[in-house]
Symmetry: C2
């Protein structure tokens, strides 16, 4: 089977590609070709059993998406887009990358006419507060960011293209991805990962909000698991409501730090330094906290059971155990 | 004040314009100019106190919306678009008229830079079944038509443009508009009006579904009232959730016919002839029935109290009493 990954150079994209190489198959079918697309160049990957083609370009440019569909991939993972901070800073770029890019891709898929499975990485940013204690699957989507609005719009397209039989879509509303590897970044949500990743390698990390803040997390490994699972789900079992709230571990920051202490010791956990940041707090207080994610669990999506496990996954995958 | 109405030649557009002429003012401010836009030519309307400009064109054509914003209207009623049957039949046209038209209009409003109130006619078609008995205000929007998808997308744009301060939007999810004046049309929902309008002038009407089907209705007069009320609502009182489920009268078809009998007599009501249509039933069974519409009522939106009143409004407005 042939698989296309857009946004393949991103953090989740790279981990997904590594997993596809490792598995060599998806849903019981051998992977023969991988098309990897991104706006930034990728390292040349190779695998003895898989034909890999690297494509560098902008999906919002006319013709780009059509070129990607020439070999009619069986599965499309659409991960491309700009992140929420960038979409908020640059209004036009956000709509271009996140909405127009998806729309042109879906249009090209429709034109190709073979109705592949399309797995789209949406986000819990489709939701805006105030929230009930536990957000049910049928809660309305009124985002408080442009990024969230672009995800809502793409979700609606995905549902409509699926209903029409132009593609066979599944949208995954990803929770906070934790622990994010790499350097601390300036994303407002970065501290959820920073306070684990940095202490684990002996560095201080700043906590800009109170320890009572609750957020739902899943490891990068689980997120890749969601994508793979979605790729081979039976569409009829999903029904017409194609955008699913993914499961995760809902914990307070205090509980995150307690888990860090259990897994890595008191001295490691002591490297978290509190330094309040009003601007970050202003955003964080509107973020969703807990999700029922009932349909996703029924459909077999699984995440970690505890934040201790999330830390162990990070140690296993990023710190060589 | 200057007011722009898009879709001004449509049924609701014409009634809104007539009301604006009659009132001569909106929210306590005198109306001095009216820009009326539509894809089809309108009769030349005139009013001694109001400067009326007729614009014929396609909002999805580049430059159209910018031209409409040259005189910086204080209020924009965005009613333009193709109806659900047309959007379902012609996929590309639906997205062009309903999504791209709105997006270009909102973009032009943003460019004009004066943040007018924008009242957008959305629809309960944003919802798709299965439904709870009474649809709450925070129910998710997963439409089962392309028209509904286009409304969901435009609603998301409206919220985001409002949050950014580019415009000051209010979206109204209109219930079934009943009694629709004019000739019977082929819209799947047409029978809800046909079974009242036709018997009232002594003609037979076909009822293609069972009498137990429940739907929420508001008269054209109430819908115009929603639009006018939305135009002068305090944005701060609405908050960030700008798309509101409008109130209406939830009745079964049996109750509609009983009301017809009370208002116009047994012989009139006997002109409804049952003739089952599987294709219409297939659609109708997925339509939403009852809405809480709590927020809209709190914000002062009002509709009729009974279906008897809806019939009386039709007799008063369309049959000269």
């Amino acid at each position: 089977m042939r698989i296309l990954v857009t946004g393949a150079a991103g953090m989740i994209g790279r981990k997904l590609v590594a997993r596809l190489f490792r598995d060599g198959a998806l849903g019981g079918r051998k992977i023969t070709a991988l098309d990897l697309h991104d706006v930034v160049p990728m390292e040349q990957l190779s695998d003895p059993g898989i034909h890999v083609a690297i494509h560098v370009g902008d999906l919002a440019e006319p013709g780009q998406a059509a070129a990607l569909m020439r070999d009619r991939p069986d599965i499309v993972f659409h991960l491309a887009g700009v992140v929420s901070g960038e979409a908020e800073q640059n209004f036009a770029l956000g709509y271009r990358a996140n909405l127009d890019g998806a729309r042109l891709l879906f249009h090209a898929i429709h034109e190709a006419g073979h109705c592949p499975r399309v797995v789209f990485s949406s986000s819990i940013a489709v939701f805006g507060g105030p929230f009930p204690d536990i957000i049910p699957d049928d809660f309305h989507t009124v985002p408080l960011t442009s990024y969230g609005a672009q995800k809502v719009m793409t979700e609606a397209l995905l549902v409509d293209y699926t209903r029409r039989g132009f593609l066979d879509g599944v949208g995954l509303r990803l929770p906070s991805v934790c622990v994010r590897p790499g350097k601390p970044n300036k994303a407002a949500s970065g501290f959820f990962s920073n306070i684990i990743r940095e202490p684990l390698v002996g560095r201080e990390a700043v906590l800009p909000v109170g320890r009572g803040v609750v957020q739902t997390h899943a490891s990068p490994r689980s997120v890749v698991g969601f994508l793979i699972h979605a790729a081979s789900l039976d569409g009829a079992a999903i029904g017409p409501r194609r955008n699913l709230n993914m499961p995760g571990v809902a914990v307070s920051i205090g509980e995150q730090i307690e888990a860090l202490e259990r897994v890595a010791g008191k001295e490691t956990a002591a490297l978290v330094r509190e330094e309040h940041d009003d601007a970050i707090w202003a955003m964080v207080q509107h973020w969703p906290t807990r999700f029922a994610a009932s349909r996703a669990r029924e459909l077999g999506f699984t995440a970690e059971d505890s934040f201790d496990d999330i830390i162990r996954v990070h140690i296993g995958d990023e710190l060589s155990g």
